[in-house]
Amino acid sequence: MKLIGGLATPALPTTPAGVELCAVAVFAGVRAVNLAQFAVASPVALREATSPVLLLVVLGGYLAESAAIGAVVVSARAYRDRRWGWADTATAGAVLLAQPLFTAASDRTGSWTAWGFACTLSSAVGAAVVFTRRRHIAVAVVVLAGCYLVATLPGAAGGSAATALGNAFAYVGFAVLARLLVGYLRRLAGDAERARSEAARAAAEAARLRERERQQRLLHDNISVLRLFAGGGVPEELDGPLRAQAMALANRVRAFLDDPPVEAGEPGPSLVSVLRAAVGDYRDLPVEASVELADGVPLPEPAAGAVRAAVGTLLANVRMHADASNVVVHADADPAEGEWEVTVADDGRGFDPAATPRGFGLRDQVERALAAHGIAVHVHSVPGDGTRVTLRGPLPASWEAVEPEGTP
């Protein structure tokens, strides 16, 4: 949509909201084109006007109203507020009635001195956009055509009168055609929206069947443990193992409530699958994994094993020391730098990296182990403001970002 510049840089979505935006563009565009035409013709118009001052006053008022309604509809991304529709109709009527104040009778048809006719055609288009009811559109058209005829017919010669009558019908024509088009587009977008949600529902239905199988397996495992606890008087030698099993089940229930893991049908180990596997072992932590930006980054063995162990160690540290309520595992790929990046962050206690000696985990399991594979580790932590550990490794030269369809 070139007409409205940066407003809709990606192509307009084929949704009801997109249709409204398109209608805004057409309404504002027709008005802008007419005003631009007038701007070109304005030197002649001002010379021929009986009162250039009055012409400019009326024009100024009209421009102000056009700017106001333009700002309103662009910021609302729709022209659906009927109050503005009536205001625009009334302004257009007033502009038409004012034309005789600054034009000679002979200039009132077929000249840019009487600029009201051309410019107010956009109000007829606008009426077809803003009003839903046909009788409202009809009233607006009658007002426009009526005001035009009242201002033009008196004193018009025979030929001019015929032109004026013909012009009055243009209001009707523009409104009818715009209504036809906008109404059709609105219905089309509604249908498209329904078709899309139908397709989504069908896909979801299939996913739900798989989901249900998963649930039944999980619930089945829970029954025996719950029964034992419900019965009370658990034999002492069973108490420890039973508690451990209950904790494991609790974690599985939480993991179950998360997004289902993407089924691995990938050729080799990838960074994303390695991270998901590492996170999967720490489901008792409040971990969020945002790893899609690294989709498709390959991570061959033995680096894959080292990264998995390192991320595991970092999460184990969080579990033991951090007392965190939010843990993030984030992955990204930066082709410009030729690097992938993994961040493991928590909002827990933090520590002072300068004053605290690194434990075995961070020093040996993470920093040394990864350095052997060309992966750099950076630890950022402030007491009371959490810990953020960043791993950076090389991207293969041939790597390109995976973009889903429709990416501009």
């Binding site: 940066g6 840089t9 990606p10 979505p13 949704t15 909201a17 997109g18 991304r77 929206e193 899309r196 949600s197 397709a199 989504a200 529902r201 896909a203 979801a204 239905e205 996913a207 739900r208 989901e211 249900r212 649930q215 409530l257 998360d258 997004d259 289902p260 993407v262 409040p286 969020e288 945002s290 899609e292 930006l293 989709d295 309520s325 939010n326 843990v327 993030v328 984030h330 961040t343 962050a345 928590d346 909002d347 950022h380 402030v382 403001d385 959490g386 953020r388 973009e403 889903p404 369809e405 429709g406 990416t407 501009p408």
Partner: protein, 225 residues
Amino acid sequence: MTGDEPQVRVAAIDDDTLIRDGLRVLVPGLDVVAACRDVAEFLAVRPRVEVVLLDLTLTGTATDPVLQGTDAVAALAADGWRVLVYTNERRRAVLVACLNAGARGVVHKAEPLPALAAAAADVAAGRIVITQALTGLAELAGRRGRLPDLSPRERDVLAGRARGESFRSIARRLFITEKTASGYMDQVKHKFAAYLREHSPADLERALGLEPSGLTDRHPRDALP
């Protein structure tokens, strides 16, 4: 009011009695003026509240299904209420569908209770509240060209937040105040929420590569025999 801190007037719609009655007692920042079992009960009372806390799963009796999930969000949003979804639901596609339906925020029930009070205050003040997972999704949307309106600074702050960085740390790194940093993030969330509202969930799945599960309103619990 003689309370120590400003309270947000909220209504809770939850089928769990413990939550309905517990919030009143447990969260000092909330003035729970109404607690309803379902949307119909809430709309019958129409209490004067700033924020509606809505659970996504509202179980009706088998013969009398109640409005729930994104349908419930859409019904309340269309009626002009500011909806804060308060849920155990974690699938991103479902949370995205809630924002698409007009919710102003999402908070997990697993969050500490003060986070709920803070989220309610944010939503009451006209801000958008999203979870860490949705922050990651916002970054994904931005990087895939779906949020062209983001300024460079807004992108910087979003990248930090998606990596779990605190506002304090982001502010220090970018030489701005914490308040400015969180202001940038508020802008990001508004633009992200606007993007989600204007695109159908099916479009979002394609654009962001989400799994197509869970876009319907039925919750797994319903699928059980």
